[in-house]
C-alpha cells in the first residue's frame, strides 16, 4: 500500500516537473524564432525591393518628364537618355515599356509619360513558385516652350 502511494506521488511529481520545467526552452524558442525571423526577412526583402524599384522608376520618369516639358515632348534622344538613366539605376531596359507624348505640343498642353517594369517576387522560391508584379508609373506635366510655327 505504502509502496503504491509512493509510486503515485513519484508519477505526479514527474508530470508536474515535465510540465513546469524550463530546461531546454531556449533551444526550442530559438529554433521557432529563427523560423519566424527568416520568414519576416524573406518577405521584407521583397517589400523593400518592390518599393525601391518603384522609387527608382519614379525618379527616372520625373527626370525625363522635366526634360520633356522643356523640349515639348518625347524624341529619340530623350528616349536614349531615359534608357541610360534606367541603366544607371539598375532597371532592366529590355522589359521596361515606355509610352510618352511625342514632339511637338504647344506651350500649356499636356505631356505625359507612362512606364511599367516587372518585379520578380523571390520569397516564394522555397515553394518552387516565382511570379512577377508590374510596377506602373504615370506622370503628367505641362509643356513650357512656346513654338511660333505650331500656331
Amino acid at each position: 500500500m505504502i509502496c503504491s502511494l509512493r509510486s503515485k506521488h513519484l508519477y505526479k511529481t514527474k508530470i508536474t516537473a515535465a510540465l513546469f520545467n524550463e530546461r531546454g526552452e531556449e533551444l526550442i524558442c530559438s529554433i521557432y524564432a529563427m523560423l519566424v525571423f527568416l520568414m519576416i526577412l524573406f518577405i521584407s526583402i521583397d517589400v523593400i525591393g518592390y518599393t525601391s524599384m518603384g522609387y527608382k522608376l519614379r525618379n527616372v520618369c520625373s527626370q525625363t518628364l522635366a526634360l520633356m516639358r522643356m523640349q515639348n515632348g518625347m524624341n529619340s534622344a530623350l528616349m536614349d537618355r531615359f534608357q541610360d538613366c534606367a541603366l544607371i539605376y539598375g532597371i532592366d531596359i529590355s522589359r521596361t515599356e515606355v509610352a510618352a507624348t511625342p514632339q511637338y505640343v504647344q506651350r500649356g498642353e499636356e505631356v505625359s509619360i507612362r512606364a511599367s517594369t516587372p518585379y520578380k517576387i523571390k520569397c516564394m522560391r522555397p515553394f518552387n513558385q516565382e511570379f512577377s508584379v508590374m510596377i506602373d508609373v504615370e506622370m503628367t506635366g505641362i509643356a513650357e516652350d512656346f513654338i511660333r510655327e505650331l500656331q
Partner: protein
C-alpha cells in the same frame, strides 16, 4: 512566456519598419507630384502676351485650379482615398506678384493612416510639405 513577448515585440518592430517605408515613399511621391503641379501652374497661369512685353502676373484662380488638377492626377488621389491611406488633404496657396519674377507658394497638409499610431489611439501621421516656385522672365 518569453517566446510570446519576443514574438509580439518582433511583430511591433516589423509594423514600425513597414510604416516608416510607407511614410517615406508617400512623402517622396507627394513632393515629386507637388513640384510637377506647381511647375504646371506657373506655365498655365502666366499670359504669353504679357511675357512678350517683359511683365508677367499670375492668374490666381487658374493657378490654384491647375495645381489641384495636376496634383490629383499625378498622385492618383482617388486610389489613395479609396484605400483610405490619405485623409484630410488640404492645399493652401499664397502668391507674390512681382512684375519680373512672380512666385507661387504651396502649403500641403494631409493625414496618412498607418498601423502603429492606431495602437496608441491616434488617427495617423501628419505629412506637411511646402513648395515655392518662381518664374524668372528674360526679356531681350
Amino acid at each position: 512566456m518569453r517566446a510570446v513577448i519576443w514574438f509580439f515585440s518582433g511583430i511591433l518592430l516589423c509594423l514600425f519598419v513597414i510604416d516608416m517605408i510607407c511614410f517615406w515613399t508617400m512623402h517622396e511621391k507627394i513632393a515629386a507630384s507637388l513640384e510637377i503641379a506647381t511647375d504646371a501652374a506657373i506655365i498655365n497661369s502666366l499670359i504669353e502676351q504679357d511675357i512678350f512685353k517683359g511683365t508677367c502676373f499670375i492668374d490666381e484662380g487658374k493657378a490654384e485650379e491647375t495645381v489641384k488638377k495636376y496634383f490629383m492626377k499625378n498622385i492618383e488621389i482617388e486610389k489613395l482615398q479609396r484605400k483610405g491611406i490619405l485623409k484630410k488633404t488640404k492645399l493652401d496657396f499664397s502668391f507674390s506678384h512681382n512684375a519680373t519674377n512672380p512666385s507661387i507658394y504651396v502649403y500641403m497638409e494631409a493625414l496618412m493612416t498607418v498601423m502603429t499610431p492606431r495602437l496608441i489611439g491616434l488617427e495617423g501621421i501628419p505629412i506637411i510639405i511646402t513648395k515655392e516656385k518662381c518664374f524668372q522672365s528674360n526679356y531681350r
